[in-house]
Amino acid sequence: MNNNLDLLIPEILVGSLAFIILGLDLFLKPKFKEYIAYIASAGLILIFIFSIIPIWNTKANIYGDILILDGYAVFFKSIFLILGAILILSSKSYVSNYFSYIAEYYSIVIFSILAMMFMVSSAEILTAYISLELLSFSLYVLVAFNRFSNRANEASIKYILLGAFSSAILLYGVSQIYGHLGTTNLTQIQKELSVNSEMSLGLIIGFSMFIAGFLFKIGIVPFHMWVPDVYEGSSTPVTAYLAVLVKVAVIALFIRVLVVGLIPIAQDWQLILIGFSIVSMVLGNVVALIQSNIKRLLAYSSIGHAGYILLGLAAIGTLDQKGLIIVDFSRLIVNGIILHLISYSLASIAIFLCVDIIFGNSDDEQIDIMRGLNARSPLMSLLITASLISLGGLPIFVGFTSKFYLFNAIGTQISLWYVGIAIITSLISLYYYLHVIRKIYIDNNEDQIAISLPILTKSILVFLLFALVFLGIYPNILMEFIYHASESLL
């Protein structure tokens, strides 16, 4: 057995970065502590440049078959490192203003990035489960980080009880899979399933519980109860983190599990996933119509977006006559899903950063408070408008390109009616996005105190605006990397 430890260098470095930051906290004087954010994000970027790029084209199994390193894993690792660095920088002012334990916050964030990096490269269910739990534990701590806020406390207790409940259900599913197939390796599962397609009752129960556990972590409708409460209750940078990186990581793992492991029984799960995705598109977008709290509104809209992505996942399960996956079309869909994840992440980072600046650590983020924002900060109003329109899917922003690509790819595989429902619900979503934009530009506010932005925040905002527009006009620069990822998966 060949233990290529040098292929694990990115993970080792990220783990050590987290410990270094914890250690630095002991020696730094309090007034220097806010600079830890720069160390953390610079460390992540340097790790990306010096250890991810050299292994870009590698394809290898590490530790037997426990971890796998392919283009797909490397692509998502770089996404986590880059978006993680941006998120850390954008949370800097909030964290140093309102949190009393600065270094701990950043080190827990980096530990969760480590967990995500293991998640996307795990080729085996037990490894995936353990890294998922490392991620969840970091998130429980982050959600509970603001100890003195009643809302954060409530959000964290709901999150940890429901999260532990769902991981127990997921584990029961894993135990049934282990017992009936004798393995938890995804490739082996695929082989076993394609040999005998007759499924016993225990295996059916096992797979349903396994998929239900994943759907809970993504926040699909019958299992979505925690999403609005946790998003509203936790501090805004943590909400951004939950909405962006965590969703990307779990969906990336779920794609690998479905495409590599469960593809021989695709006919059994395809219709179920379509049903779940339609329910969550409709319910997420309709319930968002009546929300008056901006974070809660974005939470429901994120449930809707998870629904679009789940529809794409279901469409991968269309098989040809011989029961094999249709590689070309499935590749298109995976590309669409990844592009949509990235566009959703960029827009969400932008809007949560603005929410964070406008509301600070106030206890109620009413949309009404954003009235007349244009007079207070034109740059932020422009960015909120751009990201909301991008989430709604209008040109020229990247949201249009990604939705077009994703729906187009889904339409080649499954019935156009489902795509029609997706388009109608995204029209509904435009109503509440435009409602926020109307408040910003048309309504007036009595107190017109201009918001002054620090230079760091300003540059992040301008960068995000540039990325939203540029990727919308010219997505090819990103598509090359996405092709690289999806080719190695399928």
Partner: protein, 105 residues
């Protein structure tokens, strides 16, 4: 003679008791105990499969290893949850989750 099916029925019953407890209990601590019950049902399931199925040596050891991991993870989860429940107790002087109702809909 005890067979695999008996172990499976035991674990299924334990799991269902745990789910029932999570649904009906009002105290956060009791909910946590019911979740632990569910995790232990999973452990019994793994051990039962490892012992009674005609697995190869490495497959059997794998089942045992998973159990050790699950016990560790359950302990960590318990520690975190107890810390958060203690915060709840300090804020509200009660651990009744019916009173956790600041955010709805």
């Amino acid at each position: 003679m005890i067979d695999l099916i008996h172990i499976q029925i035991l674990s299924a019953i334990m799991f269902c008791i745990g789910v029932y407890g999570v649904m009906t209990r009002r105290s956060a601590i009791l909910i946590l105990m019911c979740i632990e019950l569910m995790l232990n049902a999973v452990n019994i399931n793994f051990i039962g499969f490892a012992a009674f199925r005609d697995f190869s040596e490495s497959q059997r050891i794998f089942g045992h290893v998973i159990v050790v991991f699950i016990i560790t993870i359950a302990a960590v989860e318990l520690a975190l949850a107890i810390a958060i429940i203690l915060r709840l107790y300090k804020n509200k002087s009660s651990v009744n989750i019916d009173e956790v109702d600041l955010m709805k809909w």
